[in-house]
Point group: D2
Chain length 267, copies 4
Amino acid sequence: MTTKIRVAVAGAAGRMGKEVVKMVLEDAELELAAAINRSGEGTDAGTLVGLPACGIKVQSDLELALVESKAQVLVDFTTPQFAYKNTELAIRLGVAPVVGTTGFTPEQIEDLDKQCKSKGIGGLIAPNFSIGAILMMKFAAQAAKHFPNLEIIEYHGDQKLDAPSGTAVKTAELIAQNREELRQGNPNEEETIDGARGGYYNGFRIHSVRLPGVFAQQEVIFGGFGQTLKIRHDSYERAGYMPGVALAVKKVMEYQGMVYGFEHFID
Amino acid sequence: MTTKIRVAVAGAAGRMGKEVVKMVLEDAELELAAAINRSGEGTDAGTLVGLPACGIKVQSDLELALVESKAQVLVDFTTPQFAYKNTELAIRLGVAPVVGTTGFTPEQIEDLDKQCKSKGIGGLIAPNFSIGAILMMKFAAQAAKHFPNLEIIEYHGDQKLDAPSGTAVKTAELIAQNREELRQGNPNEEETIDGARGGYYNGFRIHSVRLPGVFAQQEVIFGGFGQTLKIRHDSYERAGYMPGVALAVKKVMEYQGMVYGFEHFID
Amino acid sequence: MTTKIRVAVAGAAGRMGKEVVKMVLEDAELELAAAINRSGEGTDAGTLVGLPACGIKVQSDLELALVESKAQVLVDFTTPQFAYKNTELAIRLGVAPVVGTTGFTPEQIEDLDKQCKSKGIGGLIAPNFSIGAILMMKFAAQAAKHFPNLEIIEYHGDQKLDAPSGTAVKTAELIAQNREELRQGNPNEEETIDGARGGYYNGFRIHSVRLPGVFAQQEVIFGGFGQTLKIRHDSYERAGYMPGVALAVKKVMEYQGMVYGFEHFID
Amino acid sequence: MTTKIRVAVAGAAGRMGKEVVKMVLEDAELELAAAINRSGEGTDAGTLVGLPACGIKVQSDLELALVESKAQVLVDFTTPQFAYKNTELAIRLGVAPVVGTTGFTPEQIEDLDKQCKSKGIGGLIAPNFSIGAILMMKFAAQAAKHFPNLEIIEYHGDQKLDAPSGTAVKTAELIAQNREELRQGNPNEEETIDGARGGYYNGFRIHSVRLPGVFAQQEVIFGGFGQTLKIRHDSYERAGYMPGVALAVKKVMEYQGMVYGFEHFID
């Protein structure tokens, strides 16, 4: 019989944190060791997420929680201002950090990498835990070697502020690494309505669709002589990231040093 | 037994004209009466289109051809500079014109309408003979009454000069007639790459994708609370317009006056 | 200023009922008059659905609730065993019923129609309140007149018991009414794996995909010479039905007699 | 300056053979050395495919053609009954074979492999030269490691005899190698129309759509918690296979031994 991995969750009462608590409670290989949140101290973590009480109460002191609970992994979905400090603390206590918060500088990541290595533990910082999105990006980058003509269309809810999405830009960067710059299309092309041809990146185009009812979708279309290849990922809800977080928690135990990007955990 | 409709084809050696000749020769309800083209006189029209010889030779004099052949319908896929004259001539001879050439002014159309009516015959001028494209436009216009949030994505070959396509603009106009102007999206939306959000039309967006291997495709996406409705037309080749031309030739016999737009022939 | 429509909700604590209560509380043209449920009496209806308290308590006696609240419309998402009785009661009290429960016999519907008419009120019984799904069915039926070759692909969650879905069968029936029976495909076609060609209906095929992560999606694909036309509806969550219920509540006030099928409320 | 690769084409007057001749004439790195066909001897190969005359006449004796032309590669799109003999002959003459004909037994392939190796040349036998289709299969097999729930939908013209298509079966086999058998769906699932759930393969389902206007398309859909990943390949015409044949001709020069399956030439 394998022992369960003991997981602490920081930011447990936030939107993502709640999903993580729920996932840990329902995953047979994981055990909720501690739930940390600035507010809501004393609430049962199970009750907090709409499940039966589980006996683990929300705590506000992260250090105390990690020490007392003998947590092996800390999943942190707090905010950029707290994440760095939390991560350093976890490493110091020998707890492997899995961080879903963005905003770390390259220097910070390098520093955390050294700390992890000196403690002999692994860690992960990842802006995106969606296995499907990671595969879409990987496949798109591979396909670009064979099909240099491509466009990206991404779909998000109509209240999103920025266009294109972070995932679209990340996909575009990965594609650009696998494809020599090529200005696609007719050199004399004209837009009769400005912007119809989308945003220009490295010779190809990115189109951002914004509609109510859509959560997050992206399609990369490759066009060749007599054929098109499409790779599409549709994300329907926040809970869709949880299988990725579960996988990360299990895999981080096998690593040494701080890994940046969940794609490194996926074959 | 019904008599076949006698069809003359002007511009018979052009790309569309050849498809029309082929279609007429293969349609059991139609009979090729004459094939007219400026060059290539004397070639058998069947041979011209890769079918067995049919006994109809290409002629260069339209008037002579229409009179001698007793044609009932003239299908004209010539060029804007000839189409008007050809159409007037056909009407004068009592031959119903079905014209696939663009570039007529509203005044010309009105004039041709009067001429048709005084001769008691029907006529059709249509920029698009694709039944599927017409249905896509009709359905999109209807859906817009219920789903005011929408975007149009159109796909064409990578050498196309203009963006958006004529069909996309026509679709947008029809939608705008069925929908009060509404500026979609977040008012504070920002493009980090110019043009990512596409071309603006009446509050919604049009995206033009250009890729090798694509002939002509268009999707209209409607987003509502918890749902999306998509209407998509994929056109794979020029021959795909022929069922529409065949239908037009048959239906024009039942009309009086000049109709503008093939959509009026479709329920 | 227009007066708000006073709406009572039966089955208020059920999955659909809760969504209805929420929708009524958030729609500026509607007012929650009463919330009826067999259990949970005394709970505030707002609290029940995760909104601020609204002052309307859940009641268990439908007759009392309708009389005291002066409701104008009763939305009923209970179960087949209660829906008929509830609907009769509502009509007797002059309250227009909007019923989302299935299982009424044609005789019952006819009977309820007479009762509505004698009271001078309207009513609606509808198995599906999704505006997008209704439009998909309407468009598919129209398109079938022009494109007799088609197939239906429907997608639902992997735990769904029956295949094809009710919506797919309804769509197929509507299409069959607009299309002469035509056995599509090669007459000598062979399946090397049984069932690969899908379910046979009136000469065309229905394919049922079942995958985790999918809520309810359907695509009707029409194939013609050189082209395909696709009409697709993706439903992401139960809440997606609410704009339809809201529309039904507003429109039922203009009708006399019992209408069967929400499509009759959509142009 | 690199020397052009000298290519002979067997079956040059067939549907695929003509496309190959055209491709070779238009590819700057390739040179048409010989065109072989049982009938049509003496016709210029350029004229045969609708291009200007190229000075290479169709010949009927393969051995003579290969010897005289000093061909380096033989592209063979003949029929199973001739392909084996042709391939042996090519190898004996030191000409690398690229074979698009199916029907070789495993023993024959092994034998040809030995012959290639003893001559120090490479060879390729491939049922499918579509780069896009190969990538679709590769990506699908990789994705199946992470998403064990999937279905395949393939689309072909309505006169196709067999269902599912060879490509769908090949894809299914590759997926099965990367995924433990898992019976998807609800164990109590019921088909109210036989075959609605598609063909069963290793626990997942294959659906075959047959519609006029479609050439060859396939989509593999993976469903996970809150997300779907789709990999789709649309093939519009026979010419779409030519970039793959061109790549094969160039790559075969770098190999030793007979390779089975074009996927081995693609990274």
